[in-house]
């Protein structure tokens, strides 16, 4: 490639454009045959060689003869030419290393995986968000509680079986303490309701996510460690139909607007009237399938109107703490609670509750 140095016939833009277009054409012609390393090296030396490369020879010759005012324009064009030569080399290299004629766009993309949100965190966040949109505040509380907050104030009678160590995990050495001060693992998130009412006057709307513990045998659907989301709404004139409407709305927000709710009488010490709530099966739409045991319904929530005894216990404690009683007979409210594991297992088709606490990445990474 010992072509001659072309002559430059003038320094006006048009002449320069023409001269450089000719050089670009030569570069493109050479670039067409750069499939081997050797050809590329020859091409590189021919154009970019430090001493005998055409680029150097031509630029030396043309710049030497150019008037000062034209040098800048010449310099810019030489830079463009150099870029074109380098691009030709690079694309020649790529063409020779890629297997096919172009991109194999069916190859997997290069991903940087984000970490996964734990399915229980995710489920709690989704449930909480529904109630936040309804104006609820988020409340939390300790996992180690006293008997007073976990049982007594929630209207559990003194000899209620839930208090037994067969049902409740207790901290060691509590026997000498007064009953209400005994430390235990909270068995539900309801103590946060009590703590909040003692601290705040109505109105109150709280949604309470959290970890709870019971002294249960583990099996595929039961774990001694599990999570709940509870809610509490207290004001003047809160009604049972408000409870129904709120939960119906929440279930539709969570599971789709086609979902129906159904309320059954139930019993909890801290609510009266109390209800269990079923939703129409989200898998079969209520026609009946294996997941709903062919009933068309899935039981999901416990709820009820706050028992007057709970309000009385709260006011009693407020008085003991030097606060004004605030939960008198003009106040009413409702509370509800649901098991987070149960919802997550249903939504994601999980059959072993233990997977949630295993840290098994083969399980968790499926939630990415």
């Amino acid at each position: 490639m010992s072509e001659q140095i072309p002559q430059l016939s003038g320094h006006d833009d048009a002449t320069l454009d023409q001269a450089f277009a000719a050089l670009q054409k030569q570069v493109r012609a050479g670039a067409a045959a750069l499939s081997t390393d050797e050809a590329r090296e020859n091409f590189r030396l021919a154009w970019l060689g430090r001493k005998q490369g055409r680029l150097k020879l031509i630029s030396d010759a043309w710049l030497k003869t150019a008037p000062v005012e034209a040098k800048k324009a010449l310099g810019q064009r030489f830079n463009q030419l150099k870029t074109a030569i380098e691009a030709a080399l690079e694309s020649g290299h790529q063409a020779s290393t890629s297997a096919g004629p172009g991109l194999d766009i069916t190859l997997p993309g290069i991903r940087r995986a984000a970490g996964v949100e734990h399915p229980l965190t995710r489920t709690m966040r989704e449930v909480v968000a529904v109630f936040e949109a309804l104006g609820y505040s988020v409340g939390i509380g300790p996992e180690v509680e006293t008997d007073f907050y976990n049982f007594e104030a929630l209207n559990f009678p003194p000899n209620h079986p839930a208090r037994d160590t067969q049902d409740t995990l207790v901290i060691a050495d509590q026997e000498k303490k007064p009953g209400r001060e005994r430390l235990l693992m909270r068995t539900h998130t309801s103590p946060v309701q009590i703590r909040s009412m003692i601290a705040q006057e109505p109105p109150l709307r709280l949604v309470i996510p959290g970890k709870v513990h019971r002294n249960d045998e583990s099996d595929a659907t039961h774990s001694p460690i599990f999570h709940q989301v509870e809610g509490l709404c207290v004001d003047t004139n809160i009604t049972f139909s408000d409870l129904k409407g709120t939960l119906d709305h929440a279930m539709k927000s969570l599971f789709g607007s086609a979902v129906k709710t159904r309320f059954f009488p139930s019993f909890f010490p801290f609510t009266e009237p109390s209800a269990d709530v079923q939703i129409s099966c989200i898998f079969c739409g209520g026609k009946g399938c294996r997941k709903c045991k062919h009933s068309g319904w899935i039981e999901l929530l416990g709820c009820g109107m706050v028992d007057p005894a709970v309000f009385a216990a709260v006011d009693q404690r407020r008085i003991e703490l030097g606060r004004e009683p605030a939960y008198g007979s003009n106040i009413s409210g409702f509370a509800f609670g649901m098991g987070v594991e149960r919802i997550a297992m249903m939504l994601y088709g999980i059959s072993d509750i233990g997977l949630f606490y295993s840290g098994d990445l083969r399980f968790l990474e499926q939630f990415a």
Partner: protein
């Protein structure tokens, strides 16, 4: 408990709905029918009734619920019996008046004992009730009909009056099941003047039982104290139909009805003849606490205020309140205020005590699903949890960098807890779930370590996990609970131009922590290599200090710990006091307009002794206070194990310095001068510039 619908319908002549509809309507009112099975003449309902509703665990009780639901008449149970004839019958003396509130006795003579036939035999077969003899079957039939336990004695075995008394310490009694019991003063017995006859409310006695040769019978129907029966039944391990009912509170008013019902059937089916009137001994103090409880005030405005709107847009009317409660056995007396009542409670509903209990009954019988879905009006503000945003930032930042959230056990073995948190005290559990869960976890590290090891053993090649959760310290009298953040990683260490693959994992974790802390408004963040906790391999970790306070530590897991977990490869673990972060404000980005003038990059190549740290180099450059210095960073660090390109004990550093002014293009001389100052400073640190 099982119910036959054809038996039920005897009490409800006006009941028109199908058995299946009845099952659904009962279930929706809390009288749950769990199964419906076809049998000759109707259906068998398998019931699941909560223990507070013992009154409904029999045919008449369920019929009463149906009558209330459909507003239809309920036949009187004793319609078919002869009118009451109460008076001085068989002599009865109640000595333990605190434990026995009522005792009725009726003599029936000349009975013929034989196997049951007819309706009783048929229904027992359908219900799976074991037949014994016509007289005993009658008591069981009465139990199934109305839920009140009764007993029949062979009258000719009795010696003198019936005496209801506490047992004598050590007194012996052979029961119907053949077992011989030694009684204590805590047991209540039905006795005669000479001997104990039966363990009251639990089981009859062997010697006074009705046999094939029995001619004359004494019928007992009584009311016993729930606590006394519970004590006896627990103490002797005897759980019978009778004890089940008496423990939960029987119907005080039902005793004479049950007695007359049994007597009527003995006449009808065993051709017996009543002899004299029925004895009925009543203890008024007990009657006052059961059948004659004080009336409860009920106000219909309160009912409406609590229950709200019905599907038809209205409210529960006083007419409905009266209808439902009277159908359930209450009697409503108008009080002075309009819409208010004084309610006399039925003797069989000991679960009703307060106004709210009556309101629940109204809602229940009306049907929960006939109330409208309304939403409460909004009053009051929304208080956000103070550290909600911080918690989300921690989770989101870590997840964005590829870390997966885990949730671990709240408990740990004491051994693990002490290995990872020797300086803290772990709180022991009183009834631990198992040996591995003896204490409340004082650290998240042991859980993270075992999760990582478990993943390794499952051949998961890389792991990045974090947990944000509570840890517990203190003692059994005072437990301190705090939020903690753990991080754990193994696999795919990222080598770069400045760190080797061997150190890559440590620096990845460090980088993650730096990025996380950068989300918070912290005055200072420091990493220190000294005083590492024992779980970090010596020289392979760092403590993190925030505003000069200890935040936590991270580093490669010590070899002894790794061996214990059978970990095949390097694990990096870390734990930080999340409470500090949760209490810190989030950083609000302060934005400066990018400079319009070009930045100048200069790469400097130096040799340094291994003892010179990046921190020293970085500080030396920054301490020059060059106003235009926008960044200084290591681009490449190289050591040569052979000592050829770089001498042993030294490393080469390629340093990139960026200079940029906000108000002008930097002149070449300015740049050169700044670079010269930097070179001088680095030489003062012992650096040699590479040629």
């Amino acid at each position: 408990m099982n119910i036959l619908t054809h038996w039920l319908r005897e009490y409800l002549p006006a009941l028109e709905v199908s058995d299946r509809q009845l099952a659904e309507d009962l279930t929706l009112r809390g009288i749950a029918v769990e199964g419906v099975h076809e049998v000759a003449g109707g259906h068998l309902f398998e019931m699941d009734i909560t223990t507070n509703r013992v009154d409904a665990m029999n045919h008449y009780g369920v019929a009463r619920e149906a009558a209330a639901i459909y507003n239809i008449p309920l036949r009187k149970l004793d319609d078919e019996c002869a009118p009451a004839n109460v008076g001085a019958g068989y002599p009865v003396r109640i000595e333990a008046a605190d434990l026995c509130g009522r005792f009725t006795a009726q003599i029936v003579r000349n009975v013929t004992i034989a196997p049951s036939t007819g309706i009783i035999a048929e229904r027992f077969a359908q219900l799976g009730q074991k037949p014994i003899s016509n007289a005993v079957d009658i008591t069981n039939y009465t139990w199934l009909a109305m839920g009140h336990p009764t007993h029949v004695f062979d009258l000719d075995t009795l010696e003198g009056s019936i005496v209801v008394r506490r047992a004598r310490e050590g007194e012996k009694l052979r029961l119907l099941d053949g077992s011989e019991k030694t009684l204590t003063a805590d047991d209540l017995v039905v006795a005669d003047e000479k001997k104990a006859l039966a363990l009251a409310g639990v089981m009859g006695g062997w010697d006074s039982r009705v046999t094939d040769t029995t001619k004359n019978i004494l019928v007992e129907a009584a009311w016993f104290d729930p606590a006394a029966i519970r004590r006896s039944s627990r103490c002797h391990g005897l759980h019978t139909d009778a004890s089940h009912r008496f423990e939960r509170g029987a119907d005080f008013a039902a005793a004479p009805v049950a007695n007359r019902y049994v007597t009527h059937k003995l006449v009808e089916l065993c051709s017996g003849t009543p002899d004299g009137p029925m004895t009925d001994v009543v203890i008024p103090e007990v009657e006052a606490k059961t059948a004659n409880r004080p009336r409860i005030a009920l106000s219909s405005p309160t009912v409406q205020r609590l229950l709200g709107t019905t599907l038809d847009g209205g409210e529960i009317s006083p007419v409905l309140i009266e209808q439902y409660l009277e159908a359930l056995g209450c009697s409503l007396h108008p009080a002075s205020e309009v819409g208010c009542y004084e309610v006399k409670l039925p003797s069989w509903r000991l679960d009703l005590e307060r106004e709210i209990d009556l309101i629940e009954e109204v809602a229940r019988v009306y049907g929960y699903n006939r109330f409208a879905d309304t939403l409460p009006g909004f009053s009051g503000g929304v208080d956000s949890l103070p550290h909600r945003a911080q918690e989300e930032t921690i989770r989101n930042t870590l997840r964005a960098m590829g870390w997966n959230e885990v949730i671990g056990s709240t408990f740990a073995s004491e051994e693990d807890a002490m290995l990872f948190a020797a300086q803290r005290t772990a709180v022991p559990m009183g009834n631990p779930l198992n040996a591995e869960a003896g204490v409340l976890r004082p650290t998240l590290l042991s859980g993270a370590a075992s999760m990582l090891a478990a993943n390794m053993h499952r051949d998961v090649r890389t792991a990045r996990i974090f947990e944000l959760g509570a840890v517990f310290t203190g003692d059994t009298q005072q437990v301190q609970e705090a939020q903690s953040l753990s991080m754990g990683a193994y696999g795919s260490p990222a080598a770069s131009a400045i760190v080797s693959a061997k150190d890559g994992l440590f620096f990845e974790v460090k980088g993650t922590i730096e990025a996380l802390l950068a989300q918070f408004e912290l005055k200072s963040v420091e990493f220190r290599a000294d005083s590492l906790p024992p779980w970090i391999a010596p020289g392979r970790g760092a403590r993190v200090l925030v505003e000069s306070k200890e935040l936590g530590a991270f580093g490669e897991l010590d070899a002894a710990y790794a061996d214990r977990l059978k970990a095949r490869e390097t694990i990096v673990l870390g734990e930080m006091d999340a409470a500090v972060l949760l209490a810190s404000p989030l950083r609000v980005p302060l934005v400066r307009e990018p400079s319009r003038f070009q930045a100048v990059e200069r790469d400097l190549s130096f040799f340094f002794a291994d003892t010179v740290t990046w921190d020293q180099i970085n500080s030396a450059v920054h301490n020059l206070h060059i106003a235009e210095l926008t960044s200084v960073e290591p681009r490449e660090i190289y050591r040569d194990a052979k000592g050829k390109a770089v001498a042993i004990g030294e490393y080469s550093l390629l340093l990139r310095v960026v200079l940029q002014a906000r108000d002008r293009t930097l002149r070449e001389e300015e740049v050169a001068a700044s670079i010269e100052r930097i070179i001088t400073a680095l030489k003062e640190l012992g650096g040699r510039q590479r040629a």
